[in-house]
Symmetry: C4
Subunit: 205 residues, 4 copies
């Protein structure tokens, strides 16, 4: 399998999933009260859209950085990548469910938030699995030095740890769990650790 086609298929799934996120923004329509009130009551959907869009966007940016440097693409990687995509595809469902139940409070809001955190944890862990695969000898065009590996593992792993932590937190307080999840997105947008040598994404064409 060429790297190109792995990227093309993954980009397609990322693109469709990120676009489907917006389907949940739709309000109930005429006959359900003033539009302004409907939009205002709908705020969890907008917040959820922003967080999930950012998260999938970040995963896409980092996915590229991982793939761009590969020297080999084997069947194990293809299946690891499919596991990642399986969670990408689940995100619109988990996002919509979380947004629908968030303001209802009670046990349902807790379950919905835990489901959302679990989907994101699955995303983070499967991304980590691909990263570990790329660390094996001969897999990358430029091997990652031993010390840089741990920096990178921490860098990629911190998200998964926080997503996993957000699952029990969701049962104590859904808003706190959502704040943690949103903070992870903000962290990755501004994170600048040069973890993998010269940054693949800053290179000139």
């Amino acid at each position: 399998m060429s790297r190109t086609r792995l990227e093309a298929f993954s980009d397609g799934v990322f693109a469709v999933a990120i676009t489907l996120l917006a389907l949940d923004l739709a309000v109930a329509g005429p006959g359900h009260g003033p539009l302004l009130r409907q939009l205002a009551d709908h705020w969890p959907s907008f917040v959820a859209y922003l967080i999930s869009f950012s998260t999938i966007g970040i995963i896409w940016v980092n996915h590229h950085a991982l793939i761009a440097d590969l020297a080999v693409v084997d069947r194990a990687l293809l299946y690891l990548n499919l596991v990642l995509l399986l969670f990408v595809v689940v995100i619109p469902f988990a996002t919509a469910t979380m947004a629908e139940y968030l303001t209802l409070g009670g046990q349902d809001a807790r379950v919905a938030m835990a489901l959302y955190a679990a989907a994101l944890a699955g995303l983070g862990l499967s991304f980590g699995g691909i990263f570990e695969w790329t660390l094996r000898p001969g897999r990358r065009q430029r091997p990652v030095p031993e010390r840089a590996r741990w920096t990178a593992r921490l860098r990629f792993g911190i998200g998964s740890i926080l997503y996993l932590a957000a699952i029990p937190v969701a049962f104590l307080s859904p808003p706190v769990a959502l704040t943690v999840i949103g903070a992870v997105a903000v962290y990755y947008i501004f994170e600048r650790t040069p973890a993998l040598g010269p940054r693949a994404d800053d290179q000139r064409e």
Copy 2:
């Protein structure tokens, strides 16, 4: 990040968003009156489809012209591009909401039209942000001469200004705001200012 993958992912999002626009054309179906009347009453959806399809199409054409000449793709550009895509993805939602409320009149029609104008303003402004990024030294293969910059800024900025203006106009008269928005699409289709030197999109292969 290679320019190629940035384009592939963006094209995927553009393609999905532009196709989802048509989902809103669906009529209520059998049992809701004669089909011809349903289609006729549904005219705002068809007008909205035409305007939004054209607008996303134009952004796609110009997006290419911007990206094709880049000498460097860095993380800042990736995130600017994600902001643009965030608004692209919101367009089908804003279009559907506007079309649903337009003929109802009253405050709801005004809010729906202002929402639509705001989504388009977000699209225009984030496009402008990417354009400003490409003007910095070293970012383009062929730098844009100082004088041409202002022509190009005006060319790209006129849309954003009119979209922003359409927000307050929507509260005075939704149809006038819609006319302004439609006029912007027509303007960009026929606009031929050679703003960026030899037009990237007229070049031979």
Copy 3:
């Protein structure tokens, strides 16, 4: 604009539209009678899916043959191509509406079939517009000889003529119009006129 990105975006739209066609296959679900009866009553959706899938598939195959040989991609072509895609995107809506109303008979069935034929005529005519554009001097890598042009025009035009004819026919008899539309798809699948010199799609890599 490179040919590559024109193809990538068009392929994306074709792929999403062709996949959305299947959304209309969904039956009403539990509580609406035996599944077997629901599926049987739903036969117009399956027929419509087959015809529309084939039609979009054929347009995609021929779209490639047109694009593959281009020497130049200009802004006019981009907008002609957007008009084609505008009709591609409309096909799932027109297909679903036609399938829903076909077995109800009466005026609604006629309107729905005419709408379907009109959408396909728009598809055929915009494809013909792109073809005419490619015939102008310098547009193709291998110019089409004068005599072959008329063969090709006939080849591409026969579909549009039959789709246009199907619009009034739909008001006389929706099933006859549907048969004509289905026959066009069958014709293009087996049509082998070597209209454009050595067939682009038979070439070796």
Copy 4:
């Protein structure tokens, strides 16, 4: 038709279909009982999602292996590929219908499972058709030796045979049929027969 565009279009359809699978995960929403119970009652959708996602993923992996080695792409292959995609696109519909009716039992559950098995059998058989096409002289860059052909035919054919067998089995016992279908996915994930010479997907870049 270049191999590249055949791949791009197919990848687009695979990507959209695999993402649409997740639309069926949505629960009924607030007012339909505790979320946890809704999710629990919804288990067939999750199982169906896993199986269908894996199956489309496997077909995508093997589709690449088939296409990557082609020396020629002709019109017959394009139409064979469209038949394959026709079934890919049907999978989300068949999956959703199966999941909805599975736990209801009775004749409807049997019909729904048979429909699912039939869609998968169509997928397997059309894939087998493409494989046979590639075996003809001159079609591949590296011809498949006579003995390896039968190994490969068996390898690709076992899925189709089991899917076909699952159709009558569905009328005896839907759960058994589902188990057979799930087992096929597991088989293909771990199957390692070097059927087509040096594995295309293990090659270095």
